[in-house]
C-alpha cells in the first residue's frame, strides 16, 4: 500500500490537490465548535481540531434529507406521484475524520446496506466518498475507542490514514479508493525509517494513554437478552435522563429517522429527518398505545440497542458504539455510557 510523507508546509498543497477532483469536507471551526464543512480553500481546515461536535454521519445520513418531490396541482397529470429528488453524488473526500467516526460508518452500513434493501442515499454517498482519517495522537479523557474494538490509530474504517508526525503527516492508503486518492497527490515524499518509527511510537503512546475500561462486552453478549432487559439497574440508570435527543443526535452510530411530508403551494416533498428513541412520539401508535411510553423503556432501548441487540442481531462482537465520547461530554445530566455498560456487564444494581 502506498505511503507518503507530506511536510506540514506542503499539506495545503496536498489538500488543494484533493480539491481538484473532489469536494472536500473537513473540520472547520464554526462559531463555538467544529463541524465538517465543504472547503473553499485548504487554509480553512483546523488541523488542531480534536473532534467535531457533531459526528460526520450527517454527511451520509443527512439530518434532513429531501427524498421525493411531487406536485399536488389539480391540472398536473403526474399529481400525487413521487419522484426522486435530484442529488449530488459527485466524488468527495472527508478529510480528517477520526478513526472512531470512520469505523462508525461501517457499523451503520449493516443497517442501510442490507441484502434485502439498500438505502440509496447512504449507499451512493458512501460509494462517492473517500475517507481520509486522522489518527488521534492525543485522545481525549472521554474517549474509549480502545475499549469497544477500535482505537486511536484504527485504519479499519478509513481509505487513507494520516498521522501527524510532528513536522509533517504520514499518509497511508488502506483501500483501493485510498490508493486512487494518494495517486493524485504530488506533494508527497518518501517515508523514512525514522519517521515510520516515530509513527509507531506515537501509536503506542496514544493507545497506552487511554485507560482500558475493561467493559467486558463478552459478558454482555453471553447474557440472555430478556434477563438483561429486565435488570433492576435500569431504574437507577434512567432516573436522571431528561429524554432530550442530544446523545442520539451527536452519536456517530445512531441512525434512526422519521419520514415527513411537507407541502408548499401545490408542491410537496417527502423528507426524512433524524429521529431519536428518546422521544415518546418515536413509538406512539395512532391508536394511542405506546410500547415505550416510559422514560425507563426509552433509555434502556438506547443502551440495549447499542450493546446487546446490535451484537445479537448481526452476530458480531462489536457493539454499535465507537467510544467517541460525544454523549459522555454533552449529556446535560451526565449519564455516562461507560458506567452504564459496566453495569450491563456486571448487572449490579448499585452505581460503580
Amino acid at each position: 500500500m502506498t505511503e507518503m510523507y507530506i511536510p506540514k508546509n506542503k499539506i495545503d498543497d496536498a489538500v488543494q490537490e484533493m480539491m481538484a477532483q473532489h469536494k472536500v469536507f473537513a473540520p472547520v471551526l464554526q462559531g463555538r465548535f467544529h463541524d465538517f464543512a465543504p472547503l473553499s480553500s485548504p487554509e480553512e481546515v483546523d488541523w488542531e481540531c480534536r473532534n467535531t461536535r457533531l459526528s460526520p454521519k450527517g454527511l451520509f445520513h443527512r439530518h434532513s434529507e429531501r427524498m421525493f418531490d411531487y406536485s399536488l396541482s389539480k391540472d398536473d397529470p403526474e399529481a400525487g406521484i413521487l419522484k426522486e429528488s435530484p442529488k449530488d453524488f459527485s466524488p468527495r473526500v472527508v478529510l480528517n475524520i477520526r478513526p472512531c467516526d470512520a469505523r462508525a460508518l461501517q457499523l451503520v452500513d449493516v443497517n442501510f446496506d442490507t441484502p434485502e434493501y439498500r438505502d440509496p442515499w447512504w449507499v451512493k454517498r458512501r460509494e462517492a466518498t473517500t475517507l481520509v482519517g486522522l489518527a488521534c495522537n492525543d485522545p481525549c479523557s472521554t474517549c474509549f475507542c480502545g475499549s469497544v474494538g477500535t482505537g486511536p490509530f484504527d485504519a479499519a474504517g478509513v481509505d487513507v490514514l494520516l498521522v501527524d508526525a510532528g513536522e509533517g503527516y504520514v499518509a497511508r492508503a488502506c483501500t483501493d479508493k485510498g490508493e486512487g486518492l494518494l495517486a493524485e497527490i504530488a506533494s508527497g515524499e518518501p517515508v523514512t525509517a525514522e519517521i515510520r518509527e516515530k509513527v509507531e511510537a506515537l501509536k503506542k503512546q496514544a493507545e497506552t494513554s487511554m485507560a482500558d475500561l475493561h467493559l467486558n462486552l463478552d459478558l454482555i453478549a453471553e447474557k440472555d437478552m430478556k434477563e438483561l432487559f429486565n435488570e433492576e439497574f435500569w431504574e437507577d440508570v434512567h432516573f436522571s435522563c431528561i429524554n432530550c435527543g442530544t446523545c442520539t443526535f451527536l452519536c456517530p452510530t445512531c441512525w434512526c429517522f422519521d419520514i415527513q411530508d411537507e407541502v408548499y403551494e401545490g408542491k410537496g416533498m417527502r423528507l426524512r429527518n433524524w429521529d431519536s428513541c428518546m422521544y415518546p412520539l418515536f413509538t406512539l401508535h395512532a391508536s394511542g398505545h405506546n410500547p415505550r411510553d416510559q422514560k425507563l423503556q426509552r433509555v434502556r432501548q438506547r443502551f440495549m440497542h447499542k450493546f446487546k441487540y446490535y451484537l445479537d442481531k448481526y452476530e458480531t462482537a462489536t457493539p454499535a458504539c465507537v467510544g467517541c465520547g460525544r454523549c459522555v461530554q454533552h449529556c446535560p445530566v451526565n449519564i455516562d455510557i461507560r458506567e452504564v455498560v459496566r453495569r450491563m456487564a456486571a448487572s449490579c444494581v448499585c452505581p460503580a
Binding site: M67, F68, A79, L82, F112, P115
Partner: protein, 315 residues
C-alpha cells in the same frame, strides 16, 4: 423464468419457524452496483373503489389498481405481508394487505380511521391517485402449513391479512395443499364485522368451517354465535392435532385466547400472530419498530408466540 403469482418465491422464514435458518434475513439481494433501486419510492396506484365496511364508518376497504402493469408484476406478495400506503402531502401508513395473491389485478386494503393519514385517506375518492410501497415484511408460513389443519382466529378489524389467507387457501389451486380450515371471527356487533358478504359465502361452503360471532346483538335475525372469541374457540374446540393457529386481534382477545389454545393442545410454536407497530420506513432501517433484536417491519410482522416469549415484552 415465469413465476406464478402467489407462489412462495422468496425464502423469508417467519420468526420462530423451526425451518428458519439465519434468523429472518432473506437471501435475495437487490440490484448490486451503484444503481440502487429506491426502496422508499411508492408505486403509483389509483383508487378503483371504496367500500365502507362497518356501520360506524371507521373502516373502509380501498381497492387499488397499479397505474403501471410492470409495477404490478414487481409487487408479488404473500398472504400475511403488508405495504406502506403513501399519500402525497400526508405521509405513509403500514397496512396489512387484505387481498390475496390469487386475486389478480388489484390490491385491497382495509383501513381503520385513526391518525392523520388514515383520516385523509377516508376522505379520498374513487379515481384519486396514491402510492403503495411493498410488499413488506414476512408472511404466514405457507410451506409449513401445507398438509396441516389451519385454525384462523380473528377479532375486530385485525382480520385483513386473515381474509387474504382464507381467500388464498380457498383458491382452487391451493385448497388441496391444506387440510381442514376452521375460522373463528368475532366483532363487538354484527355491524362491525368486516367482509360480511364473503363471511356469509364462506359459511355456506363445505371446505371451510366458519364460526362467526359477536360480543352481543339486539338483532333477532342473527343466526350465528354470540360470545367473545376466546369462549367460542373453547366451545368449538378445534382439534390441535396437526394444526396451526393464526391469531390476530385486539390484545385483550389474544390474552384470553392463548390459554384456551393451550388447553386445546396447541403448543406456542404452532400459534402464529401478526404484530402492529408504529413504522416509518417499513424496511428495517428507521429503527422504531424493534422488539429487542427483531424489527417488526422486516423480521416480522408474523411471529410465533413461542418466539415472542423469548423477546422483551415491549409491544
Amino acid at each position: 423464468m415465469e413465476i406464478p403469482r402467489g407462489a412462495d418465491t422468496r425464502v423469508r422464514p417467519y420468526r420462530g419457524d423451526a425451518n428458519s435458518k439465519g434468523g429472518g434475513r432473506s437471501l435475495q439481494a437487490r440490484n448490486g452496483g451503484i444503481e440502487v433501486e429506491n426502496p422508499y419510492l411508492p408505486y403509483p396506484v389509483r383508487i378503483e373503489s371504496i367500500v365502507t365496511e362497518t356501520e360506524d364508518r371507521n373502516l373502509k376497504t380501498f381497492k387499488l389498481v397499479f397505474l403501471d402493469a410492470e409495477d404490478e408484476a414487481k409487487f408479488r406478495y404473500h398472504a400475511g405481508q403488508f405495504a406502506e400506503l403513501s399519500i402525497a402531502g400526508q405521509g405513509e401508513i403500514p397496512i396489512g394487505i387484505a387481498s390475496s395473491p390469487t386475486e389478480e389485478g388489484y390490491l385491497l386494503f382495509t383501513v381503520n380511521k385513526a391518525g392523520k393519514v388514515t383520516n385523509y385517506l377516508h376522505n379520498m375518492k374513487e379515481g384519486d391517485i396514491m402510492g403503495v410501497r411493498g410488499p413488506l415484511g414476512n408472511w404466514y408460513p405457507w410451506e409449513t402449513l401445507e398438509g396441516r389443519n389451519v385454525v384462523i382466529i380473528g377479532g375486530g378489524f385485525a382480520f385483513t391479512t386473515l381474509r387474504s389467507s382464507i381467500v388464498y387457501m380457498l383458491d382452487p389451486a391451493n385448497r388441496a395443499r391444506f387440510n381442514d380450515i376452521t375460522v373463528v371471527y368475532g366483532a363487538r356487533s354484527p355491524g362491525l364485522l368486516l367482509y360480511k358478504n364473503e363471511l356469509i359465502q364462506w359459511e355456506k361452503r363445505d371446505d371451510i368451517t366458519m364460526h362467526i360471532t359477536v360480543d352481543g346483538t339486539n338483532d333477532p335475525d342473527w343466526k350465528y354465535n354470540v360470545g367473545f372469541v376466546p369462549a367460542i374457540v373453547k366451545e368449538k374446540a378445534p382439534d390441535s392435532d396437526n394444526a396451526y393457529a393464526l391469531v390476530c386481534g385486539p390484545p385483550v382477545m389474544i390474552k384470553f385466547t392463548l390459554p384456551t389454545l393451550a388447553e386445546l393442545g396447541f403448543p406456542p410454536e404452532r400459534i402464529i400472530t401478526s404484530l402492529e407497530m408504529r413504522m416509518k420506513c417499513g424496511i428495517g432501517m428507521c429503527g422504531r419498530c424493534n422488539i429487542g433484536t427483531e424489527l417488526v417491519c422486516k423480521d416480522g410482522p408474523v411471529f410465533t408466540f413461542d418466539y415472542l416469549s423469548t423477546l422483551p415484552g415491549e409491544y
